[in-house]
Symmetry: C2
Subunit: 334 residues, 2 copies
């Protein structure tokens, strides 16, 4: 393990992303990436009586799929790193309570998936584990109820609002394998630029994304052009534009090879999701579905995967607080 | 790093707990351990307008104290592992947003403090960091509002209920130093034995504590008598008795050297806390205050510190779900 600068770790023995899996809800299944997901649900409940139980089922079944695809016996998975958006991370705790694997609960809001990949990669590099699991989930209906208004109220959503992705993404990291490899980890700091609008998470998270992005470039000595793609989690259309502009003022041109999973997952013209997708499952499903396949097929060889999170809740919004953001990044290469 | 059995890591270069700090609320300040805490507050608000803001201030100031006591420049702290009980871990996110240190949000309910110590120890052992921070907080008033009923309702509390500790505990882990050392980490699994009573967290968490305890003994080949003290986080009087009985049925006698921080922090006769203390700050403050000093003075030389968490929230309780528990343990020796 080599420390580069203040925030980046370079792995001496790059960690293989052995397998990924994703399940998405019906709206995501009507989006442009549908064919890349392992399973598309027909409704938001999936036979459960509540949205929370549905979300737990989604993460549970996604984990079952990734374990099945990996062909690893379940007892070879030594740790699970998981978290989600629901209060007290109940989707993960309840969905994975029968997993019987040493469990680290994590919370980075929508940055959780890459936070878990970073922690997991350190565990494998250190010799603490040979194989482990990272997973996350989110659900449009449970998230709206939790962070904004119950759906039954029928509130209007402003143009800067994003649509929480219903789904789950899961990855198995492994000491042995032929890649794609996690080669670097850049851990984010909490950044709060004073944005208070709970319907504009993209603007709240973009400064954190900028901070991690620039730290990554400074720590590694790389330029944006090093990567075939720079990918953020869920800045959406609004946050994506802000990040491009802010990066440019700092001397980094990312426009040509940068995209955001929240922009990618829904069709802007027909799906009425305003600023795009969000939620832990946004980068979770788009990486586990689309990007992982691009890497496996060597259509992309070097990507910087950066998940962004808004560390807020409905109480702080009511108490007039601003929205702190965070962004965690990993370099993935084939 | 050596893997022992399925759940335990033995550190080849034991990690020093360089310094600890704790701040507690007024009720804890009237308890038997008051003299061990760095600061005792006179009221629950500490000049803030809400309980949530007070809790954020408590964790922030506890971190300031531990950094000051350690005499480390703040920029030598390479990571912060933090989490708490509030929805979306806002106490940590808001309290530590000005810290400017790479941040890993974690959630293990009341097991969070030891979860952070375990993750932090792996980071140091792996070479990812030389010094880092682990911290957590809880607050009686914000926790009651969050998990049970608003205090203004004046609900009665049943005898099995526990009193969430108001306070924060923080520890700096370091590659170099003269101990006390973290030597082993036993990571817990989620265990759910079907307990549904949100006023009996001790019973809900005891099976998870048993699972981790027995795994630790099996993985290390140690017996309970190896330790000068076995310490759980917040099983309280009810959960403590359950753990002693269940351990005995499995062939482990822990009665003579086992205690629980929830039992220790309040006076049963005069403080009316029923089954005792709970919350992330229970083990956080009692370890950072009392136990760390016992280790430094070599009154205790080998302890097993095991934090227990109930992975539940108020929604799952209303939906009729049971309460999954988890317990994370570290061996600490001088």
């Amino acid at each position: 393990m080599q420390k580069l600068g203040k925030q980046t770790l370079k792995l001496e023995h790059p960690v293989t992303i052995l397998e990924t899996a994703s399940i998405v809800g019906p709206k995501e299944a009507n989006g442009p990436l549908a064919k890349y997901f392992d399973q598309c649900l027909e409704d938001e409940f999936w036979g459960e009586s509540t949205w929370e139980k549905a979300e737990s089922k989604i993460i549970k079944e996604t984990v079952n799929i990734v374990i099945g695809k990996s062909k690893l016996p379940q007892d070879k998975l030594e740790y699970c790193f998981a978290g989600d958006l629901l209060n007290q991370c109940i989707s993960s705790s309840f969905g994975l309570r029968e997993l019987n694997i040493p469990f680290y609960g994590i919370f980075g809001a929508c940055s959780t998936f890459v936070e878990g990949m970073g922690l997991g990669a350190v565990f494998i590099e250190s010799g603490a584990a040979e194989n482990l699991l990272c997973c996350t989930s989110s659900h449009f209906c449970s998230a709206e109820k939790q962070f904004r208004f119950p759906l039954e109220l029928g509130n209007q959503r402003p143009p800067s609002s994003q649509w929480t992705v219903t789904g789950s993404g899961s990855a198995i990291l492994s000491k042995s394998g032929t890649g794609p490899y996690i080669t670097h980890i850049t851990t984010g700091k909490i950044v709060d630029m004073g944005i208070k609008d709970a319907n504009n998470m993209g603007a709240a998270m973009a400064p954190a994304a900028l901070d991690t992005l620039i730290s990554h470039f400074k720590d590694t000595g790389r330029k944006p052009s090093y990567y075939d793609a720079i990918i953020t989690g869920d800045l959406g259309y609004v946050g994506k534009e802000i990040l491009i502009e802010m990066a440019e003022t700092k001397g980094y041109q990312i426009k040509s090879n940068y995209n955001d999973c929240g922009v990618m997952i829904f069709d802007k013209a027909t799906q009425d999701t305003h600023s795009g997708g969000s939620g832990c499952a946004c980068i979770g499903t788009v990486f586990s579905g689309y990007w992982y396949q691009q890497l496996k097929e060597r259509k992309y060889k070097k990507i910087l995967l950066m998940a962004t999170g808004a560390l807020t809740n409905s109480t702080t919004a009511q108490q007039g607080e601003s929205i702190p953001g965070i962004a965690h990044a990993v370099s993935i290469e084939v």
